[in-house]
Every structure is written in structure tokens, then in C-alpha cells.
């Protein structure tokens, strides 16, 4: 069991990291030949991080669009954030000593439930709103259910079946430090851990890439200064433009 999950964990981590880096590399290196910021946009370089932050931290555009959807999405993402933070303890020794972290860990018991409620809310919208149902395909439902599964098994493992967290920590730290330790072979943990590995593998190939892709969105990350600063990208600069003005044009009027 230990050997199997150690191999799976390294495989999943490799796929996740390599896949993510490859995608980000692609986004970063693909040229944006024209200025297409969504105006009104920041008119200075320093304004862009602020705009980006408002999207990442409070989902500004989504808030502008649809408050119900915003609430569902925001609940899920906040829950996810709390859950990720609370998992830090499995990766780092002495994490409890980090100042300020207690603010999050105080609320950590809500992480799973908030995440699950947000996800079920999002799932419900796909069934209830006809427009959302129209655009949803299998992979949309699958991802939501996968995440629900992760949240629910996590809550069960922590609060109900009370998996031995020390053993979990030993195992995870072993993976991280490349000196594998015994796998805590409790059924609920096996399910939780397996679902997480599945998520990691699926991540770079799926729409979950929005987490990284948002930062490369030209309508959001460009500065509105095309008159002041000339944008030139390689392929565009090489596109020839020739004008042939017909001297004797036919009379059309």
C-alpha cells in the first residue's frame, strides 16, 4: 500500500508541476500583438496589479454581473483557501509558529463545510438555471463532484472518523523530503488522498487552469496607454502592409 501511494503521489505531483509549468510557459510566451485591455482600464503600469487583485481577491467582475453566482463561487473559493492553508501543517514542520496564521486556523474547522456548501450551490445553479444547464457538460459536473468529494471526505476524516493526523503528517513530510514513510491506510484517508491526486493530475489539462490563466488575460493585465507607448511584438512587426491606391477608380456615384 505504501509503495503504491508513494509512487502515485510522486506521479501526480510530477504531472501537476510539469503540466502547470508547461501551460504557464505557453501563456507567458505567446505574444499579444495588439493592445486589447478592457477599458476603462488602468492608465499606468502600477494600476494593473490593483485591477488584478480586485479580480482575484473579491471577484469584482463576477460581483458586477451576478450576486447569487458570486456568493456561490466566493464561498467555495474561501473554503478552498482555508482548507489549503490548514493543510500547510502537513507539509511544514513548525508551521504553527508562523505569526498571523492562527487567524486562519481558528476558522479552519469551517473550511470543509464552507467549501462543500459553495460547491453544492454551484452545482445546484447548473441544474436550476436553464442558461447554466444549457452550457454544462459532463466535465463541469465531474469537477464539481470531485471537489465535493474531497471536501466531504476531508471533513469526515478530520471530525468524524478522526484519522491519525500525526501519521498523516509523517507520511506527507516523508513524501516532501523524499524519504517515504508508512501510508496511513485508513479507508477514508485513502479515498480523500486518491481524490486529491486525481485532482492534481487533472488540473493542468482542465478549466482549473483559470487559476493561473487569469493573470495572463490581456483584457485584464494590459495597461491602457497605447498612444503613449508603442506596442510591438515580433510576428506582427514582420507582417507587411502595402497600399496600392488605384488612380483611375471607377465612377460609382
Amino acid at each position: 500500500m505504501t509503495v503504491l501511494f508513494v509512487i502515485l503521489a510522486y506521479l501526480a505531483a510530477t504531472v501537476f508541476i510539469v503540466g502547470l509549468v508547461a501551460k504557464v510557459w505557453k501563456y507567458a510566451t505567446t505574444p499579444a500583438p495588439l493592445k486589447i485591455p478592457q477599458t476603462p482600464a488602468p492608465v499606468t503600469e502600477t494600476g494593473v496589479p490593483g485591477r488584478m487583485l480586485s479580480e482575484v481577491a473579491v471577484f469584482k467582475s463576477l460581483f458586477k454581473s451576478n450576486r447569487v453566482l458570486w456568493l456561490a463561487a466566493y464561498l467555495f473559493h474561501i473554503g478552498l483557501l482555508l482548507a489549503v492553508i490548514k493543510h500547510f501543517r502537513f507539509f511544514f514542520a513548525g508551521i504553527a509558529a508562523v505569526p498571523g496564521l492562527s487567524v486562519f486556523t481558528t476558522y479552519e474547522m469551517y473550511a470543509g463545510p464552507i467549501m462543500a456548501i459553495g460547491l453544492l450551490f454551484l452545482l445546484m445553479l447548473r441544474f436550476v438555471v436553464d442558461r447554466h444547464a444549457y452550457i454544462s457538460v459532463m466535465s463541469d459536473y465531474f469537477l464539481l463532484l470531485l471537489l465535493v468529494g474531497i471536501a466531504v471526505t476531508g471533513v469526515i476524516a478530520k471530525h468524524f472518523l478522526r484519522v491519525d493526523l500525526v501519521q498523516v503528517k509523517t507520511f506527507v513530510m516523508g513524501i516532501v523530503s523524499f524519504s517515504p514513510q508508512a501510508f496511513p491506510a485508513e479507508p477514508i484517508f485513502i479515498i480523500h488522498f486518491s481524490l486529491v491526486l486525481l485532482l492534481l493530475v487533472y488540473f493542468p489539462f482542465s478549466k482549473l487552469m483559470h487559476a493561473a490563466g487569469l493573470f495572463f488575460s490581456p483584457t485584464r493585465n494590459q495597461v491602457d496607454n497605447p498612444r503613449e507607448k508603442r506596442l510591438v511584438t515580433p510576428w506582427a512587426a514582420e507582417t507587411p502592409a502595402q497600399v496600392e491606391v488605384v488612380e483611375e477608380a471607377p465612377e460609382t456615384i
Binding site: 501551460k23 505557453k26 501563456y27 505567446t30 505574444p31 499579444a32 500583438p33 495588439l34 493592445k35 486589447i36 478592457q38 477599458t39 476603462p40 482600464a41 492608465v43 479580480e55 471577484f59 467582475s61 463576477l62 458586477k64 451576478n66 453566482l69 463561487a73 447548473r126 438555471v129 436553464d130 442558461r131 447554466h132 444549457y134 452550457i135 454544462s136 457538460v137 459532463m138 466535465s139 463541469d140 482542465s206 478549466k207 487552469m209 483559470h210 490563466g213 487569469l214 495572463f216 488575460s217 490581456p218 483584457t219 491602457d224 497605447p226 498612444r227 507607448k229 508603442r230 506596442l231 510576428w235 506582427a236 502592409a241 497600399v243 491606391v245 477608380a249 471607377p250 460609382t252 456615384i253
Partner: protein, 527 residues
Amino acid sequence: MANTEATATETEEEKVLTDLEKVGEPRAPRKKPNEINAEELTGQIETPKVQRDVADHKPYLCKPKSMEKLGFPSELRSDWHDAAIAKMGDLLKKYKALQVYMDICVKCGSCTDKCHYFIGTQDGNNMPVARAELFRKVYRKYFTTEGKILGKLAGAERFDLDLLGEWYSYFHQCSQCRRCSVFCPYGIDTAEISMAAREIMDHIGVGQKYTNDIIVKVHEVGNNLGMNPKALAATLESTEEDLEEETGQKIRLPLDVEGADVLMVTPSADFFASPHVESLLGYAKVMHQAGINWTFSSTASEAGNFGIFIGNYGQMQKVASRVQKAIEELRPKRLVVGECGHAWRIAYSFWNTIIGPFGSLDPNYPRPQHICEFTLDLYNRGAIKFDKSANDDRVVTMHDSCNVARGARMGDQRGGQFTIPRELIKASCNRYVDMDQDTIMEKTFCCGGGGGLLTDDLLELRVQGALPRMQALHKVRETHGVNFMACICAIDKAQFTKVMPKYGIPLSVCGGVHQLVASAIELGAKE
């Protein structure tokens, strides 16, 4: 034409369609203009229940001759499938926006109720995310691991003739107005996707007649309306005569003056279409009263640039390069652009990249400058004066053009594209009222005719697409007695004057910002 013989012997009802005709012909015949009816206006914009396949609108296919002139295949390529996938791969490498937007949509549904064509047609595929899905289906199938392995489960689909037909229909039901992008949590810009789709279609021999014919016209004659330099000179001359009759003053509309201070580039519709020409009179009066030495150019007699609509960088650059040539010929100090939405987006956002830098122009002024920036600046400096009461018969509102609102700016402040035209309007009239906040500024609704759809073979779609704007206008007409909607876009003016009668709104309600300026400006000796 292999099947000419076959079709000749068959009867009308059993006509064998070529693959290209299958792609380009709607299932039901297009309605005649008098058969098209608009909804009754209530003043409320309502999100409809989603319908399937109810808006099978398709514009006319481009004729082989125009396709060839633009360097596209004259007919559907026999290897169209492979060619389309190859072109898609090429565009994914060239455009960050396309590549990123293909991957990151989570289909949250935020955009689903934002498109005017969805609101007007109720067709599910006119929801921005569903429109983009038509592209993503193909992208996933050929460019993603997920799609290659999971196929339909992941929403991947083979690019076949039916899907190409849907592309032709729904990517010509997008006016590239970018309203959906405002509400997208990642700023996914459907305009970029529909431009790429049209670019791919052109490259396999499926072009749209209206946009492509117009680009050919610009290359061959010089402007969208196909007005040659001689005709242009004659039109300007007769307009000068009209102006003299109206004002008693010698107000000039100069053409091809070398060394003028200002080169004015405006949509060719301004030269004689109505109500566009009213704004042209406004430009002329402003220049005259401020004593500015200005000129039009017969080389650059068009600010519009349909290259953007078909997503073809080379065509857009070639059309724009006429302006570059005019600058070389006439050596003006400043460059000013008339009332035109997509033209201003291209001028403001793209010109510096595609035909810049403008080293020969005076750096003390924006290069290029919008006519509203130009006029308001003169007004604020006292170079021109307005008599607001001249517009007292009007209650004015403003329709923000999508390309100006969401793709460009005026002035040096964020949001100047909203405040500058409004300041100018308010300076020239006493009664001004905005439409609903959800329908103006960055949330403005498209007129329904932008993005290369301003053609009569799409008239039904245009009427449907205008619905949200008409509702918002109707509301302020009822509540505030608005009788003039000021626009800064030639397409707006042409579209509204065509569809407003269908909604029972008089033509005179639509006009230009400089039409108001033309009425209010005080001509004659300065104090």
C-alpha cells in the same frame, strides 16, 4: 463547377447544395424587410428562457472574386478540415488572448444573460459562453489532452460540415462588442474568439460578403462607400455650398491640402449618409470657428477598418496604412478622427502599433486625437462658444458605442471616453439625461449592427439585437421625454435609423454628438 450539370437537370425543390452552400444557407429563407417585426417595447430588459436553434441567421457568402482579391481561397477548400485546424494552431501561437481564453473558461454562466443577441433572439448559442464553446469544441478535440482522451465527455467535437455551418451562423451573430467580457471573472473576450473564427473561415474559403466586399472597396477605391476621389471632392464642394446657404459664411471642407495643421480622418458615411453628414457639418463649423487649417485626404477617406471584424491582422494593417500614406503625402501636424466606434478603437489602441510611430506629428497633442477630445478642448479654452438654447427643442441622451466604451479611451483620465462626450453634449444643450446605468458606459449595449453585421441580409438579427438598447431608450423617452440619442459611431447611426422605425421610434431621435455641436456653435466674429 463539377455539379453544374447535375443541378441544371434537377428541379427547383431537389436542388443539390454544394458543401459551401450547406454552410452558408440558413435553414429557412431570409425574411424580407417588411416581414420583420420588432417586439413591443416595455422599457424593461428581460432575460429570456433559453431556446434551441431558433436564430439560424446567416449572412450572404462572399463571392469568389472578392475572396481572391483578399488572398483567400475562392471556394471551400477540399481539404478545408485540415486547413482549418492548421490555421487554428497558427492563431493559437500568435494570439495570447485566444490561447488563454480557450483554456480558462469555467462556464460559470456569468456572461449568459449579457449578450444583446441572446436577449433579442433567445437562442442559447448566442450566450457568449455557448458561442465560444463552438470554437472550444474544436480546440479541445485537436489541441488538448483532455479532449483527445475524453472526447465528448469533455466537450470535444470533430470539426465537420454541420459544425462549420454553426460557426458561420453564430460567429456572425457576434458584434464583437465585448460586453460579455466586462462581466467575465477572467475577462474572456468573445470578440477575440469570433475574430479568430472568421479568420479561420476566410482561410478555408468561407467568407462573409458584406465585410469582405467592403475591404475590397477600400483597397480599390479608398473607402467603405466606394466613393472615388473625384466624387468625394464634388460632395465636399456641394456640402460647402449648403453650409454657406445655411450660415451665410464661407465654411470650408478642404481636401488634400498639404501642410495643413489637422488631418481629419472620418468614416466615409459622414460625407453623405444621414444623419452622419450632420456631424460632418459640426466638424467643419468647429474648424472654421477656431480658425484651424485642416484637411481631409482622398487617400485616407475612411476611418472605418473592417479588417478588425474579420480578424485579419494583415488586412487591418493594409487598410490603416492609407492613413500612414496620407500623413506622408500631406505632412499634417495633427491627426484627428471623426465619430466612429470601431475606427476609434483601431485608431486609439492599434494605430501606434500597426502604422506608427507618428514621429512627424506634433507630440504636444494626442496622436491620434478623437474629434470629441479636440472640440471639447477648444471649447474649454474658449476658442469656440456654444449657445445651448439652440438645442432647446431637444431632450438628449447618449448611446456609448461599444468599441469606444470598452476598447478605447479619450483624454488622459481613466473613463474619459464616457466623460468627454458627455461634457461636450452638456455644453451644447440644456437638457440631458442618461439611460439606465446597466445600459451605458462600460455596460453599454451594442446597437445590434456592429462587428461587420450591418448588412440587410442580417436585418432580422439586427432588429432583434437592438432590443435592449431600444428598451432602455424607450424608458427615458417615457420618463423624460428624450427625443435625441447622441452617438459617436457611424455604424450606430446607420443601424439605429434602420431599426428604430421597426420599434416605432422616429428616425430623428438618432444623431451625432457633433450634430448637437453644429446647432449650438456660435459662428461669426469672435469677441
